[in-house]
Symmetry: C2
Subunit: 216 residues, 2 copies
């Protein structure tokens, strides 16, 4: 049975993984009879956002511990990820991708990617295994691999990606950008989707394209 590794970045759109995107990516995998294991960096979150008020809370939370909420407790630290156990990698969106897995939300065009996350991405890439990223998570692949990706159609964000050597292509919520050379699949999800059903269509399209690349 095929198995995909998922990198989570916390639990909640404003300071972690976007919950719907992560859940619906898991659903799309499960529907296709693909298993998955979850991973996350074992480190403190950049910050904690009160999702009711939108304000930064005076709290500390750990990315791995909070990510475990989305994966129902079944999760490992990202430095335990053995690329040979998986046939693909998937990164859901949410600000956690831009605050915990990278610092894109903080440093803009001067951004960098968490070292352990970058290492895993390079390993999947070198092993010629496909990588899918949703919503804002493609900024990570843009930086690490200089890939051809979409984050929807926001010009300011797209310009920052071309600034780090990536290629940006505009896509709608139900479309995927496929970089066949680098085996990268990206979809805008909540960057453009108006509702959760549209997000499910994006996640399904991304997972479908990723599985297609696995066959090559």
């Amino acid at each position: 049975m095929k198995k995909v590794a998922i990198i989570l970045s916390g639990c909640g759109v404003y300071d972690g993984s976007e919950i719907h995107e992560a859940t619906l990516a898991m659903l799309a995998l499960s529907k296709n009879e693909v298993e998955y294991d979850c991973f996350a960096p074992d480190k403190e979150q950049y910050h904690v956002v009160n999702h009711l008020t939108g304000e930064v809370a005076d709290e500390k939370r750990n990315v791995l511990v909070e990510s475990a909420r989305i994966s129902r407790g079944s999760i490992s630290a990202i430095d335990k990820l053995n690329v040979s156990d998986y046939c693909g990698l998937l990164l859901p969106g949410g600000f956690g991708a831009a605050k915990n897995l990278s610092d894109f939300a903080i440093n803009g065009d001067n951004y960098s990617v968490d070292e352990d996350v970058a290492k895993v991405i390079v390993e999947f890439h070198q092993a010629r295994k496909p990588i899918a990223a949703l919503c804002i998570a493609p900024v990570i692949l843009a930086k690490v691999l200089g890939a051809r990706v979409t984050i929807g159609n926001d010009k300011a964000t797209a310009d920052m990606l071309t600034g780090v050597g990536a290629t940006h292509v505009n896509k709608e919520y139900n479309e995927v950008a496929i970089d066949e050379k680098n085996l990268i699949v990206t979809n805008p999800c909540y960057m453009l989707a108006d509702n959760i059903y549209q997000v499910s269509l994006g996640a399904e399209a991304a997972v479908g394209a990723m599985l297609g690349l696995m066959k090559k």
Copy 2:
């Protein structure tokens, strides 16, 4: 457009709403072009569980604030719920339903239901609007309405429900128990489902049956 109220109980299976069940119930509504608003009690959680270790953490979190993670910030305190704005009510599962919305997980057959939650359920019931509950959340409807429900096939739990005057019927992960007299729909979700795809089938079946009852 039809609109359903969803009662959340935190964010995470061990101390709040089960994230997949809540998300997939929202997806099933959205797929059927039904809108939803989320509500939760504005009170401290019974406790906080570290979902990585399963241990109780020395922390305090608020049910409404944590529930806002699942609803992407759009949520209101349950005492603001106006039943006339909605054509149905939905309660996802997770231990939050048995720790924060009721004390079923703590007090077993001597359990009680949060007063604000019970009030809302009675109002929907009196207005002849259907109520759906997933996983362990049917225990709440069993106590408040003495309804005919399923929590799957666990005999010890089922016996506690008959003990408070409800009727229990065994159902599989993809089946719903329908109480036509009380307009109650229940499905076991993760009480029986082996994977997230099976949970999505349960949530879809429950939402479908709920919409069917709305037409009567």
